[in-house]
Every structure is written in C-alpha cells, then in structure tokens.
C-alpha cells in the first residue's frame, strides 16, 4: 500500500456567515515537502491555513492528515496530531515573557527534536532575551518567538502565515534561511506569502489563490513568473 500524503485538502469550502471565502480548494503535500500559497490580500490564504489548523471547522473529510480525517477537529486537538500554525501578525501572548511563550508552545509534550535548548540554538538572540516581555522585542525577534513557539510542539507540518509581513528585507532573508534549516531537517511546511520571491525559492509546489479558488498549481520550478502574475491578478 502506498503511503498516504502527509496533508490532503480536498474540495474545501469555508464560510464566514453568508460570505464564502474558499471554494473547493484542494492541496496535497508529501512528508518533508514545502508548498507555497500565494495570492493577493483577501484571496483566502489565511482562511486556508486556519482551516487546516482547526481554527475554522470544516467537513470531516475535507482535510486528511497522515491519512486521517481532521476537518472537524478543534484546534486544540489538531496541534497534538502534529500541525502547528505561525499565525498572521505573530500573535504572541503579551502577558508571557519570551521563554513562557516558547514553553506554552511545547506544553502538549509531543516528542521530537525541538526543545527550549534547540530553539535557543536556532535563535541565539532569544536566549539573551528569555526573561523579557515579548512586547519589548523587535518585529523580527517577535517573529522568531512565533516560529519557535510553533516548533516547540514538534510539528510534522508547519503552517507559516505571512512571516515576512512588516519586516525589513534583510530580516526576511534571515528568517527564510532559518526556515530552510527547519524544513531541511524534515518538517513539511505550507508557506503563505503575498511577496512571492521568498516563498517560491523555498517551495517544492506552488498554489496560487484567487478569490477563494486555486487559480494555478504546479511544481515550483515549472511555473513561470508570467503564469503567476496572470493567476495573481486574474488577467
């Protein structure tokens, strides 16, 4: 029997009240692979990640993880299965210091290679600031905490929602270099970006969302910039 893909999203719809944000979105990801999901503001990228992470409930079998349906599981049970989300806008806990933010990410106790020491090796600057309020950090450092917090749950799949948002280009480069290390060690990832450069460079597969639908899909090396801008802007 062939091994099922790590993640299988099949004909996923999502609604906010009467408004439909996703229309039959499908996406497949193998173990250790990276998918880039790109698209304009409001295309439904965050909605897709939130649905996979369980913050938005969907149909039972709309999302398969390691072959098991997880579409209707709540977020607090999905993280234990091995999916971690780095939410858009970082969303650190302001009442928790840096170390507490990391520790709470690992409190479900999923075994794996990541622990506090490893996170501090990955981001040495966080070790120096471990007792500081997370709100006192720079934007880049806050993003490191957000990524570290997600890694602490030892995910098999890491979901990154616009981790470059609001950061200087040089910081974005560093963050993506680190992300490359993380996926290089075998963690699969779905990387959502509006800025396509970094996302395309790290991805094996590309999905372009447009108004809640997959407008383009392909291997990262095979889709051209022209295809992407056509799908991106709908021209």
């Amino acid at each position: 029997m062939p091994e099922p893909p790590l993640l299988g999203v099949a004909a996923l719809d999502a609604h906010y009240g009467d408004f439909q944000a996703l229309f039959g979105v499908s996406l497949t990801l193998s173990r250790g692979e990276v998918a880039a999901v790109i698209g304009a503001n409001g295309a439904g990228k965050s909605t897709l990640l939130n649905a996979i992470a369980g913050l938005i409930r969907s149909r039972h079998d709309a999302i398969l993880f390691e072959g098991e349906p997880i579409g209707d599981l709540p977020a607090n049970r999905i993280v234990g299965r091995g999916i971690a989300l780095v939410p858009e806008g970082r969303r650190l806990f302001p009442s928790l210091n840096v170390e507490e933010n990391l520790l709470i990410g690992g409190q479900i106790g999923r075994p794996g290679r990541w622990n506090l020491g490893r996170i501090y090796e990955l981001f040495p600057v966080l070790a120096e600031r471990r007792r500081q309020a997370s709100t006192s950090l720079s934007g880049g450092q806050q993003q490191m905490v957000a990524i570290g917090r997600a890694l602490m749950s030892n995910p098999a799949l890491l979901l990154c929602d616009e981790i470059s948002l609001g950061l200087a280009p040089i910081i974005v480069r560093d963050i993506y270099a680190t992300l490359r290390q993380i996926v290089g060690a075998g963690t699969a990832a779905v990387v959502v970006e509006q800025d396509i450069g970094q996302a395309l460079a790290i991805a094996d597969r590309v999905y372009c969302l447009q108004e809640g639908r997959v407008a383009l899909e392909g291997r990262a090396g095979e889709v051209t910039r022209a295809d992407i801008s056509a799908a991106y802007f709908g021209v």
Binding site: A53, G54, L55, P74, A75, N76, R77, V79, G80, A84, L85, P87, R91, F93, P94, S95, L96, E100, L103, I104, G105, Q107, I108, R149, A150, S153
Partner: protein, 289 residues
C-alpha cells in the same frame, strides 16, 4: 489614641476577608472577562454548605473547609462547563445577564431550603478568643487567622499565576483565547479550572464570613459590592491590589463606623468613589502584576 489604633487594626483584619471576596472576582474577570454578579450569593452558598457540613459531621467550621473547599470548587467547574461557557462570547452582556439570573436563583433556592432566618457558624470558643498586644489593643484570633489566610491565598494565587503551567495557561487564554487553542489548550476546560479556583477561594471567604457575622439568603449582594469595591480600589489587573483594596476598604469602614455606626458602609462607598474619580485604574493598577 489606642482606640483609633484598635479601630484601624480591626479594619485591616476585616480587609483580609474583603480581599478574599475580591480575589475570586478579580481572577474570573482577569481570565475570561466575566463579571460574576452571583459572586456574593456563591459566598453565601458556601456559608450554607459549611453550615450543613458542620451540622452533619460536627466539625469545627475552620476544619469544615476540608470539605467545603472541594465541594465549592466542583460546583465552580460544573457551573462553568454546564452554564457559563455557553454564555461567553464576543458580547459581554449575555454572561452578565446569566450570572444575574443565577444570583436570583441562588437567593430564592436558599430561601426555599433554609428559610429567611439568619444563621451563624459557631467556632466553639475560637470566635471569642483574642490576643492582647497592648493595653486597649487586642486582636481576635479568628480575624487574625482570617487575615493570615487571605495573605496566603493572594500569595498562592500570585505564585500560581506566574510560576505554574496552569497560571501560564490562564494568562495565555486571557490574552488571546483563539491563539491559546493553537497551543493545545481547551479554553472551556481552562475556564472551568479558573471558576473552580475562584469558588475555592469563595469557600474560604464564606466560612469566615459565616463565623464572623449572621447570614441569610439575601446577604450575598452586599458581599458582591464589597468585593467589587476592593477590586476597583486596588486595581483590576493586580492580585496584590485586591489585598490592598480589601484592607483600605476595611479600614475606611471601621473608621466610618467609629465616628457613627451608620457611616460604616457609606464610608466604604465614598472611598471607592474617590479612588474611581482620582485614580480609575486603582491604587496598584496600571503596573503589570
């Protein structure tokens, strides 16, 4: 002079009780932004539970805490999971109305079960024992015990909030309940534990209240007011603030009563309004922790 010293000392000790009223209230507001209108009635419920336990087991009221605390904590967890969680949401009005309804139900339920007669717990000599500190200045053993427990409760809560996993979960859920779920936290369970803890403190406060003064099913709302006043005086976001607020309220009330017995409660309200006007964030509010 010693008369005044005596008054102030009594006020401080009563303040410990108010601090316990306030701590449970503040804890719930802090974790789930719920204003529990039934808090005072739950204190009275705890007093009646203690009454039943002391009657049935022949225990000293202080010892009855061994039973009353876990009973009230269980009531808190079930109340949260069964009722209050359903009312919580974006809008703060539904939970307010639900706890208001709960307050009415508790008062009427207690009235049906226990009648309107006022009751009191007898602490078998402990309630009249006192230690003499100086000529004219003696403090009751029970108020001293009550104050010591209040300090312990606040210190324990502080430790729990800032040095344990559960406290970390309380803070995270309070900061951002949505993202807290991504950490594997079940908010409904965390809220249940917070209410259990709140009602465990309510149990301690209820037993000491019942030994100190007469109570009947209608005495809850006044306890709620004192708890609120202590919370606001001390500062909403501060645990130690509830102790400071409780003590201040106790002292002001004692001084008011010394001048004219009718002024006791009024003096507390005036102090509360003064703090609200001059320093709305409370004495210890604004600063974290």
């Amino acid at each position: 002079m010693t008369a005044w010293l005596n008054t102030i000392a009594q006020g401080v000790l009563v303040g410990g009780l108010y601090a316990m009223f306030a701590a449970g209230l503040s804890l719930i507001f802090g974790v789930m932004k719920l204003v529990n209108i039934a808090h005072g009635d739950l204190i009275v419920l705890a007093a009646y539970v203690a009454l039943m336990v002391t009657d049935a087991l022949g225990l000293n009221p202080i010892l009855s805490l061994i039973v009353v605390v876990p009973v009230m904590a269980t009531v808190g967890y079930l109340l949260q999971r069964g009722l209050l969680n359903r009312a919580l949401g974006e809008d703060i009005l539904p939970p307010l109305l639900v706890t208001f309804g709960l307050s009415v139900i508790l008062q009427n339920g207690l009235l049906q079960l226990f009648s309107a007669d006022s009751r009191r717990l007898q602490a078998g000599g402990l309630d009249v024992a006192s230690v003499k500190l100086a000529e004219g200045l003696s403090l009751g053993v029970l108020p001293l015990l009550q104050f010591a427990l209040a300090v312990l409760v606040i210190a324990g809560l502080h430790w729990l909030f800032y040095h344990t996993r559960l406290g970390r979960a309380f803070r995270a859920v309070s900061d951002d309940p949505r993202v807290a779920q991504l950490m594997g936290l079940d908010n409904r369970h965390v809220f249940g534990l917070a209410m259990a803890l709140s009602l465990a403190i309510v149990a301690v406060a209820g037993v000491f209240l019942a030994v100190r003064t007469n109570f009947d099913p209608a005495t809850g709302p006044a306890r709620l007011i004192f708890g609120f006043e202590a919370v606001i005086i001390g500062g909403l976001s501060s645990l130690w603030g509830t102790l400071v607020g409780g003590i201040l309220l106790g002292v002001v009330q004692a001084i008011g009563a010394e001048i004219d017995p009718g002024w006791q409660v009024l003096a507390g309200h005036v102090a509360f309004l003064a703090v609200l006007a001059i320093r709305p964030q409370g004495l210890l509010g604004g600063a974290r922790r």
